[in-house]
């Protein structure tokens, strides 16, 4: 399993209700179902991937999660997971508010644009940065949003969202290996992972990790 998904999985309480947005072939959901006994639901737009999920015994809906999340009752899930997708979302504020309505907690991960290699690339090459995590040109990238870990903390603060937990990791896009970054995380992490909630019991504390 991808390293960032391992971190996310480690945050999930056993027996909880989990919704994974853009769940692909259901790798994370299957792990959570087998190892943590969660009630797993996924949303995926690709028909073939949906079929793989259902053939693996998962409950998955084919559709665009930006629309699909609107139809659940409030607090239908203990966790809603948006992994490596926030940078592609057209209306992130609307989406995250919707997720915080249907989920008690939300886990968001994204490529960290303040990673030192990206900074240096812009500084010295003078071009829009490309990396293993963000391998596209400016004109063909699906990643329409540039987000740093600091940007996300500011976003959470300005929108009354509590960051309950935070992890900075160094891993590559589809890799199973990686490590947590404790020293200078904003500079050295390739991905940030945040557990957020509507109320803010941890507000003001320095981020954990």
């Amino acid at each position: 399993m991808r390293f960032d998904l391992k971190i996310i999985a480690s945050w999930i309480e056993p027996g909880s209700r989990v919704l994974d947005l853009g769940c692909g072939e259901g790798e994370l959901l299957r792990y959570l179902k087998e190892h943590k006994g969660v009630k797993a639901t996924g949303i995926e737009k690709d028909e073939a991937e949906v079929a793989v999920c259902i053939s693996r015994g998962l409950s998955v809906l084919q559709g665009d999660f930006n629309q699909e999340v609107a139809d659940y009752q409030p607090a239908s899930f203990d966790y809603v997971i948006l992994s490596q997708t926030l940078q592609q979302v057209y209306e992130p504020v609307t989406l995250i508010n919707a997720l915080l309505a249907i989920g008690k907690k939300v886990i968001v991960s994204f490529p960290n644009f303040s990673y030192w290699r990206i900074r240096l690339h812009l500084l010295f090459a003078g071009c829009a940065p490309k990396s293993k995590e963000l391998p596209y040109e400016w004109y063909n990238t699906p990643n329409i949003r540039v987000i740093t870990m600091k940007d996300f903390r500011n976003f959470a603060r300005d929108n009354g969202i509590a960051i309950l937990r935070e992890a900075a990791i160094n891993t590559h896009r589809q890799q199973a290996t990686g490590h947590l970054v404790h020293f200078l995380p904003d500079l050295r992490a390739t991905y940030g992972i945040f557990l957020i909630g509507r109320t803010s019991p941890f507000r003001g504390r320095p981020p954990a990790g």
Binding site: V50, A51, I54, S55, S59, V60, L61, Q62, G63, Y72
Partner: protein, 378 residues
């Protein structure tokens, strides 16, 4: 197909609701006695937890799979899906399929004898609804001693019965597979059915529905009705691929009204074949039941209160009779009700008919979903 013929089935009949205990229909009318034709395949487990009810579409029957005799070369209508080792594996599940109320394949319908007159009902047969069909299926299951269904499976008008089962008897249904269906009949679908009915009623042999003893049946009207139906089951793309503008055994236009194009010839053939096996009045009643169908009549606005049914909803991209958006409306209602629901829109060029055609994807989805439900303990 020697494999299918190894799977022998028997059509059985169950009669109930004899006077004075007639069935009270949704319309308020009383009907009885009621006979239901049904077939079963596989064995009911000692715990009675492996029963799968398959419900047929508009003009189907109880003969879902297998053959009546070893020499029979024509297996049931869903033999590709139902049988030993197939997606609905009769080695594991006890499959039941019954002809709907109002039909003409052994269950009570307008062609049955009216006990009050000793003659066929004709239009004296009361209008029946999808809910009435489900009531009869429920009576059959009570008779068979089945109080819980592992799953109810059906496409099109069968899917409407699946949804009605889930709304009416949620505690009985562990899982549901509505395929290529809709939570309510659209104006467009009603419109096509109305044209089909008008074709039957305009046939002089229809005689206000009392044609059974007249010798001639409204075959022309019924054939046209079937042709209209067939158009709605196909798609623009499937017609283009199947027929295009191909001419039948000629290489030039004939300049008269014979079936010159392949597509004309196909529709005429389907229409003529249909009248041999189907009753025109049944067609009127069953299309009307489909038109009346609105899931909201059976489920509250919040949906399926108290239900714990798991759903696998499947739509097909080129189905314009019950387009994907109608399945999505259903999925939204199920989500709002907090139900466990999976949804897949299968890419297919074959229109509404796709649910009856071989599709590895559909078969895998159904097999895996049922397997999961069965392993979870039914």
């Amino acid at each position: 197909m020697p494999e299918a013929c190894a799977n022998l089935v028997v059509k059985r009949f169950f009669t109930f609701a004899g006077p004075p205990h007639e069935l009270i229909l949704e319309s308020g009318e009383r009907l009885g006695p009621v006979t239901v034709a049904y077939e079963t395949i596989g064995a009911l487990s000692p715990k009675r937890d492996n029963a799968v009810l398959v419900v047929h579409a508009l003009t189907g029957d109880s003969h879902v799979a297998g053959c009546y005799t070893a020499e029979d070369s024509r297996p049931g209508w869903w033999d590709i899906m139902v049988g030993p080792g197939k997606a609905i594996d009769t080695g594991r599940y006890f499959v039941i399929c019954a002809n709907v109320l109002g039909g003409c394949m052994g269950s009570t319908g307008p062609s049955s004898l009216n006990p009050a007159t000793g003659r066929p009902y004709g239009l004296d047969f009361p209008l029946v609804t999808i809910g009435d069909m489900v009531t009869v299926q429920k009576a059959l299951l009570d008779h068979l001693g089945i109080s819980r269904l592992l799953a109810v499976v059906g496409g099109s008008v069968g899917g409407m019965q699946v949804l009605t089962w889930c709304a009416r008897y949620p505690e009985m249904v562990r899982a549901a597979i509505p395929l290529a269906t809709t939570p309510r009949h659209s104006a467009q679908a009603i419109a096509f059915n109305e044209v089909a009915r008008q074709a039957i009623m305009a046939d002089p042999h229809w005689r206000g529905g009392h044609y059974y003893e007249a010798g001639a049946k409204p075959d022309l009207g019924l054939a046209v009705a079937r042709m209209i139906g067939h158009i709605t089951y196909l798609s623009n793309e499937s017609m283009r691929r199947k027929f295009g503008r191909q001419l039948k055994s000629r290489d030039a236009l004939s300049f008269h009204f014979d079936a010159g194009f392949e597509v004309e010839s196909y529709l005429r053939y389907q229409g003529n074949k249909f009248v041999e096996r189907f009753d025109a009045n049944s067609f009127l009643y069953l299309t009307k039941a489909a038109d009346y169908f609105d899931l909201d009549d059976y489920a509250s606005d919040d949906g399926f209160e108290g239900a714990e049914t798991s759903f696998l909803v499947v739509a097909f991209t080129s189905d314009w009779l019950y387009p994907t958006e109608q399945s999505r409306t259903l999925v939204r209602q199920l989500k709002r009700s907090g139900l466990d629901v999976s949804f897949c829109e299968i890419e297919s060029d074959w229109g509404h008919d796709a649910f009856l055609l071989p599709s590895e994807r559909l078969h895998n989805l159904v097999a895996a979903f049922l397997d999961r439900i069965h392993r979870e303990g039914g």
